[in-house]
């Protein structure tokens, strides 16, 4: 028996789950897909007094079309669903593009959108992707809720804006704009490992084929997803040329200051950001479709 002792509850309703969080918040951990929490329990790196299993909350497992033309994705939607769901692939392809990098099929069968975001591993793909998408996150607590922008959700290493009594319930994705393409690139030692560094990019063109809007977000190169604003600004209003993408890569690398660790030096990771930004922008341009989703 490897996990430490804990008190286990699998509430059948959201209200019940929120009441448990209100009562035990600071001593509780929420169990969603279990692909991050269960290893921490097995190694006893986490010793929560209470484990609140949210897997019975079927209401959090839906992908629905939002009134604004965007999508509302429940926190309990599995990564396998994000990878395969037709609405996601058509209306928010960036999420589907990121999924093959997340672990392996056997991990994505259980891992959830909300679990990945709430765990906030700095090398994870989904946090960077939702920052690039300007997603908005709904955090519920007993008797209330608030909506937080993705960029404000990630506070530090493995740390989010979630209060101990709050549960991430839904991620709202804005409508996919017309003439937009996206791409994710990363480098890992083996496929499925955590990234040594990665970049998620989105490009929207105007009617004349110039860049109307660019999003470049790095992951694995800081404690939280890093919006590479200088690179984005350098692209906006200009032609999407190889030279512009190379310059954006240079500016993106200048916008990060990654640490050395056992897997790679900070200088190597910085170089990765330059190369992967250029590649991701090149592929995002190739993926631009004429019409809005």
């Amino acid at each position: 028996m490897k996990p430490p002792r804990f008190s286990y509850a699998a509430p059948a309703t959201l209200e019940e789950a929120l009441a448990l969080l209100a009562r035990h918040g600071a001593e509780a951990r929420v169990l969603a897909g279990g692909q991050s929490l269960m290893p921490l329990l097995n190694f006893r790196l986490a010793r929560p007094g209470h484990v609140i299993d949210v897997n019975r909350l079927a209401g959090l497992a839906a992908v629905t079309a939002g009134a604004d033309g965007g999508l509302r994705v429940g926190a309990l939607v599995r990564q396998r669903t994000l990878e395969r769901s037709a609405p996601i692939r058509e209306r928010c392809p960036l999420i589907a593009q990121a999924m093959p990098f997340v672990g392996h099929p056997q991990i994505r069968a259980r891992g959830t959108l909300g679990g990945s975001l709430a765990h906030a591993d700095p090398a994870a793909e989904l946090p960077a992707v939702i920052v690039a998408l300007d997603a908005r996150l709904t955090l519920r607590r007993a008797g209330g809720e608030r909506v937080v922008a993705a960029a404000d959700f990630f506070v530090g290493l493995l740390t989010t804006a979630l209060a101990p009594d709050e549960l991430l319930t839904e991620v709202a994705l804005p409508p996919w704009p017309a003439r937009t393409g996206s791409s994710v690139h990363e480098v890992a030692k083996r496929h499925g490992d955590f990234a040594l560094g990665g970049v998620a990019a989105m490009l929207t063109l105007d009617g004349r084929g110039r860049v109307a809007r660019a999003r470049v977000v790095g992951f694995g190169v800081g404690p939280v997803p890093v919006r590479l604003a200088d690179a984005e600004r350098s692209l906006t209003g200009g032609a999407p040329t190889p030279a512009a993408f190379a310059e954006a890569g240079r500016l993106a690398a200048a916008g990060v200051d990654p640490a050395d660790d056992i897997h790679a030096s900070g200088a190597y990771r910085q170089r990765l950001v330059a190369v992967l930004t250029t590649r991701a922008l090149t592929d995002a341009l190739a993926a631009v479709t004429e019409h809005a989703a």
């Binding site: 430490p4 692909q35 299993d53």
Partner: protein, 157 residues
Amino acid sequence: MSETRAIALTVNGRPHRATVETRLTLVDLLREELRLTGTHVGCEHGVCGACTVLVDGEAVRGCLLLAVQADGRHVETVESLAPDLEHLNPLQAEFVRHHGVQCGFCTGGILMSLTAALRDNPRPTEAEVRETLAGHLCRCTGYQGMVDAVLALVAAR
């Protein structure tokens, strides 16, 4: 006092009832309570794939699911594959023929991942077979024999 729960689940078509500690993992339930030791325990953090079993038809890590979470579910393990003690199923037979198995530690999990993948897509490409195998670590055979085994199975269909 340890917290326990009564659960009921189906394993390889047979109904089981058990009273388990809530912190017991599914793989430990299978091995230690149900004595189904074909599913192995490796890294216990979801990387090696040795503990992979099917839950309601999906390949998942047995070390990253609590036994209580399998309440009411259908679990399939490597023991379900062979029709009897004297025979192997076609996938297992191809593994033997193509030297896809050596020490056997990883084999149970790999066979279950491939079983789920082949139900999902009976005619995978070599790249798709390798994608399925990427979720598993084997330190003996080096995967090529396993790829050959699956492709031979597919070609014979």
